[in-house]
């Protein structure tokens, strides 16, 4: 009996449809970034980024709706190129990183819109508040890299109100919504 099991399993594996590919976000090589921008007084953009995050995603060309992603962000790594402002942003008025040292995004669904476009839904946990958000996604490209690996990259944008995540410090009427830009390159595991 035993000698039939292995060929049977092998045959089953061949018959199964292509498996989703798992990727780890290339934060080691910094081929990924999380940027934010928010209006300053309504007159200009203030931009910054989160320097420390990690995550992985799964993507299946044949079944894109099964795609998923999970990203963990260190909100304390916020960097707006101004130490005094960063200190304020990490403090109680904004991210309160002493109390909430981690932010996460975990996808709950993916809608393929064709032409490499998609809509990613998921739960964003920021400052201890978890809320569903939607990220507009564009697949930038994929293929073998020059060093024997395989890579796939996406670019996503979303926006939400700071107050939705308990940040109610008044920056003025034009500065209540933050725009987030998430760009990730994954290296296939």
């Amino acid at each position: 009996m035993k000698k039939y099991i292995l060929p049977l399993l092998f045959g089953l594996a061949v018959a199964l449809p292509a498996q989703a590919e798992d990727y780890v976000i290339d934060t080691d090589g910094a081929h990924a970034y999380i940027h934010f921008k928010i209006k300053h007084l309504g007159y200009s953009w203030l931009s910054g980024r989160f320097n420390e995050f990690s995550g992985d995603f799964s993507y299946d060309d044949k079944n894109p709706t099964a795609s998923r992603i999970k990203v963990a962000i260190n909100p304390g790594s916020i960097d707006s190129n101004h130490a005094e402002r960063d200190k304020h942003l990490r403090g109680k008025d904004f991210l309160n990183v002493g109390k909430f040292p981690e932010a996460t995004f975990v996808s709950t669904g993916y809608q393929d819109l064709g032409n490499g476009q998609g809509r990613l839904s998921g739960d964003l946990t920021l400052r201890g508040v978890t809320k569903p958000i939607t990220i507009d996604v564009e697949q930038i490209g994929h293929g073998p890299d020059p060093w024997g690996g395989y890579r796939r990259g996406f670019h996503g944008t979303t926006e939400f109100k700071l107050a939705d995540f308990g940040i109610d410090y008044d920056l003025g009427p034009a500065s209540r919504t933050v725009i987030m830009e998430l760009s990730v390159e994954g290296v296939r595991k």
């Binding site: 101004h82 130490a83 005094e84 960063d86 200190k87 990490r90 410090y169 008044d170 920056l171 003025g172």
Partner: protein, 181 residues
């Protein structure tokens, strides 16, 4: 009032430096707590830190001057009725006050210059950054600045209470001497 200290009295320079530093420390402490609580659209949101930093840098120079003057001067002898533990305690507290003063000002400087920006003083000149980019420098320096400033003000209050005790209970010249008498 004589300018220089002697074995029995503080001169005008020491007296003036003492009270100016005391006044400015308490003012900067209050200003620091108040300005960090302001809302973004408050006119003092930018003006508060501007004064706080500018005055802080000037205070640093004044404290260095004060320390120099103190080293150069004859130090008045302790009053004969001061007990040994009071003399030791007073010296210890005075030393700590100077140390805290310097540490508070240095930590403040390290917040503002953490990203390499210079520290502006009254829009007249700027102190360049030196130590920059330490891990979470602005946050750590900020915590240290607050804790040490609170300790400084607490210790200064203790120092003032001790002086009042000498004046009101012991009825000696300790406090009067700091007024130049």
């Amino acid at each position: 009032m004589q300018l220089r200290d002697d074995a029995h009295r503080y001169g005008a320079v020491s007296v003036a430096l003492h009270w100016v530093v005391a006044l400015v420390v308490f003012a900067l402490f209050g200003l620091g707590l108040w300005m960090t609580s302001l809302t973004y659209y408050d006119p003092w949101y930018r003006l508060g830190p501007w004064w706080h930093k500018s005055i802080g840098v000037v205070l640093f120079a004044v404290v260095l001057l004060r320390l120099g003057w103190r080293l150069w001067s004859v130090h008045p002898h302790p009053l004969p009725n001061h007990r040994p533990w009071e003399r030791v305690g007073a010296r210890l507290v005075h030393g700590l006050l100077y140390l805290l003063l310097l540490a508070v000002m240095v930590s403040g400087y390290l917040i503002s210059t953490a990203d390499g920006r210079a520290l502006g003083v009254f829009d007249l000149f700027a102190i360049p950054a030196t130590v920059t980019g330490l891990e979470n420098q602005e946050d750590v320096a900020g915590q240290v600045h607050l804790v040490l400033a609170s300790t400084l003000v607490g210790l200064a209050a203790l120092h003032a209470l001790a002086a009042l005790k000498h004046s009101l209970i012991d009825k000696d010249r300790t406090l009067a001497r700091m007024l130049g008498r």
